[in-house]
Symmetry: C2
Subunit: 269 residues, 2 copies
């Protein structure tokens, strides 16, 4: 469970930004002065840190992690081919990772939400295999990989955690492979909506009403579909009453049915 011991986090969560319907830049307005908050005070630590880590060990990790200033929409964290030196954790906002195929098209390989770790694909060749950009105002923690490697050798639970993070990414990508190779456009869109819903829930945000951080184009690219198809499916899902969507604001009015669609139990009309 998540204990919101941090004042700033609680404020951002509760009062939020009244100008938008769903929480967007968590901890931005009220506390961007506070972006250097430590791991032990971060309410996302339960997602991005190993649970087993002792307070003293967290302090060691804390000393390694670099917290940068907030990123603007469109800012690159790294580019494909850049020398790899760090992995990153999302503190607020959303990022996308993508690579450019031989034929020059962009292929999005993942969206990263607060608490999630990205950049792990760069370890193998010591070069980033993809680029990462902020989809909106965002803040990240930079984790120099050499330093965590060192520290990992002394902290088994940290080593384990990084093995797990990587393995998780593998398992996730393989699920995605199955989706791209077997599922219809409708199943893919439904699955993405549910994935974002679940990841929001993990951060104690609404699982049924949220603002999509990415464009239809990005969704299509990620799911191997064209914008038009994505748009049509949003319309269709709305028409049959499974979702209600106004641009990027989405409400899952019938998550169960959506789940059925994602699993191929049912098709929309």
């Amino acid at each position: 469970m998540l204990t919101t011991s941090n004042v700033c986090a609680t404020a951002a969560e509760g009062a939020a930004d009244i100008s938008t319907k769903s929480p967007k830049d968590e901890c931005s307005k009220q506390c961007h002065h506070d972006y250097k908050i430590s791991c032990s005070g971060c309410r996302l630590s339960s997602i991005c840190l190993p649970i087993a880590l002792q307070a003293a060990d967290i302090a060691k990790l804390d000393a390694i992690i670099q917290r940068g200033r907030p990123l603007q929409k469109g800012d690159y964290i790294y580019r494909e081919g850049d020398t790899f030196s760090s992995v990153y954790a999302v503190r607020s906002g959303t990022l996308k990772a993508f690579s450019v195929t031989d034929s020059g098209e962009e292929q999005i390989t993942g969206f990263y939400l607060p608490g999630e770790v990205f950049g792990l694909d760069g370890v193998s060749k010591n070069k980033h295999a993809s680029s990462a950009v902020a989809l909106e105002t965002a803040a990240i923690c930079e984790i120099p990989f050499d330093r965590v490697s060192e520290l990992s050798a002394r902290l088994p639970s940290l080593q384990r955690h990084f093995f797990q993070l990587m393995s998780q990414e593998i398992a996730q990508d393989q699920k995605m492979l199955a989706m791209l190779s077997k599922n219809t456009a409708e199943q893919r869109v439904a699955a993405l909506l549910l994935s974002i819903s679940a990841r929001n829930a993990r951060r104690a945000l609404s699982a049924t009403a949220f603002r999509l951080p990415m464009s239809r184009t990005d969704i299509g690219n990620y799911l191997g579909l064209t914008v038009e198809t994505v748009s049509r499916i949003f319309s269709r899902l709305q028409k049959i009453g499974y979702i209600s969507s106004d641009n990027r604001e989405v409400t899952l009015t019938n998550p169960e049915a959506l789940r059925d669609i994602a699993n191929g139990v049912q098709a929309a009309d």
Copy 2:
């Protein structure tokens, strides 16, 4: 470069099994009595071990690795959901890993050739996320993960190697994602042929003539295509003279052109 210091390996490579056109069960007939060969004597070590490891350290790793008896075609190494305890390296033969989708269909997530390591997707949940079966007679090395984790803490280059193996798998899966989402059936098949070719070359086998270890059905499943489509593409590539194929025996008669197809520079007819 690869130094064939091992008598057995050299024999298997040179004389081979005269009953088949291309090398199949490397090191099987002549030396299956020898399947307990150590890492230091294994000619695949340059692929599956970190180069930087000292002789003394290799011995330590050697002591951990368990070498089982040869597997028969169809034998499972582990099943989806099994408790995870080890990762595996392929010694000879080929394996496929696959998971079953929510709708009950099999999705192949990878083929593993000699020297390659598989089973890494099980680390995150401590359960295997996929099943692994032998596609032909095969031998594998079992690497108990807890033990290498421990050893990794003391041998930085070993830790690094495992981080790299995992990262490599991530990068690979992401390339596959891009392929499934952007490439035509023709490009996918061409890419698979080239991938197998390259992996053969790495083991000092022919890059242009080889026996495919998997069925057309498996190829289709892996590439997100039907058998019929795969078959048609093999026929087409043969007709235009880029490959010559007799069932699973394949010769890449024009690898350059195949590369062009895979990269979308050219299409077959």
